[in-house]
Amino acid sequence: MTNSESKALQPKEKAEVTAPAEQTKAGLVFTPAVDIFETDKDITLLADMPGVKAGDLNIDLRESVLTLDGDARPPERDGEVDIIREYRTGKYYRQFTLSQVIDQAKIDAELKEGVLRLRLPKVEAATPRKIVVKN
C-alpha cells in the first residue's frame, strides 16, 4: 500500500478502554492505534502513544501475550485553567496474543516522537523454509 496521495486527516476521538484489572491510580485508559506487520524474520509493531516517555512505558511478553502499558502524564501544570478541552490524557494499554514464538533476547524497542517501534524477531525454527517439490 502506498501513500502517494496525501488526504486530509480526520479527527478521531481516542478510544477509551476498560483495563482488565482495576487500576491502582485513578485515571483514563486509552487504546493506542497500532500497525502490525510481519516479515520472514520478525514481527514489527508500531504504536502511537503521544506524551509517553521511555521511562513510563512497560512492555511485557509472557506466555505469548504482549502487553503495552504506557503512562502519558498530563502536561498541564498547576495554575492552568481549561479554556477548550478536546482530548483527554491518560494511560495507553493494549494486549496482543502472538501466534509466533519470539526470541525474547533479541527484542528491540524504540520510542521516538511518541511512536513505539517494537521489533520481535521470530525464533529461527519459525522462519519458513521453502520446500522444493522434486519432480
Binding site: 486530509a8 486527516l9 479527527p11 502511537d48 506524551g51 483527554r88 516522537e113
Partner: protein
C-alpha cells in the same frame, strides 16, 4: 350545553385532548434519555484534526495537540494577534515490500487548523515545543489582556 361551570376543579377539565398528558410524559422521557445518551463527554466541537486543548494561566495561553510521529520540522506554525494556525503532514514510511500487515490503524495525511484565542497575545514571544509527539505552544498574553489587580480604596 356548550358551557357549564363547576365549582370544583377536576383534572379532567384541564385536558384539551385526551393525549395531552401522554405527550407531556413523552417529552419528559425524551429529555431524560437525551441526557443519558449524550453522556458527560461530548464530541470534539470543531471536527478538525488535530484535537487541541487550550489552557491559560495568568501570564500565558497554552495550546497543546497530540501529533505522534511528527518533529518540529514537519510542522508549520504561525500566529497572529488572536489566532494560532497549525499545519503539517504526517507521513508513515512504507515498510519492507515483503511485509504482510496484520493491522493498519494509524493514519497519515495532511492537516491544517486555525484556533482563535480568547485574548490577544504577544506574537514576538510565542514559543513552540514538540516532544514525544505532543506539541505545546506557549503564547504570552499581551499586556492589555493580562488580569490586573484593582485596589479598593477605603475612605
Amino acid at each position: 350545553m356548550m358551557l357549564f361551570r363547576r365549582t370544583t376543579r377536576w383534572p379532567t377539565l384541564e385536558w384539551t385532548s385526551p393525549f395531552e398528558e401522554l405527550d407531556r410524559m413523552r417529552r419528559q422521557m425524551d429529555l431524560l434519555s437525551q441526557g443519558l445518551s449524550r453522556g458527560v463527554w461530548q464530541e470534539p466541537a470543531a471536527g478538525v484534526f488535530p484535537l487541541m486543548n487550550v489552557t491559560e494561566d495568568k501570564e500565558n495561553f497554552y495550546v497543546r495537540a497530540e501529533l505522534p510521529g511528527l518533529k518540529g520540522d514537519d510542522l508549520d506554525i504561525s500566529v497572529t494577534r488572536d489566532a494560532l494556525s497549525i499545519a503539517g503532514e504526517r507521513k508513515i514510511a512504507p515498510e519492507d515490500e515483503k511485509a504482510t500487515y496484520h493491522r493498519r490503524e494509524r493514519e497519515a495525511g495532511r492537516f491544517s487548523r486555525i484556533v482563535s484565542l480568547p485574548a490577544q497575545v504577544d506574537t514576538g514571544k510565542v514559543e513552540a515545543d514538540c516532544t514525544d509527539g505532543v506539541l505545546q505552544v506557549t503564547l504570552p498574553k499581551a499586556e492589555a489582556a493580562k488580569p490586573k489587580q484593582i485596589a479598593v480604596k477605603t475612605s
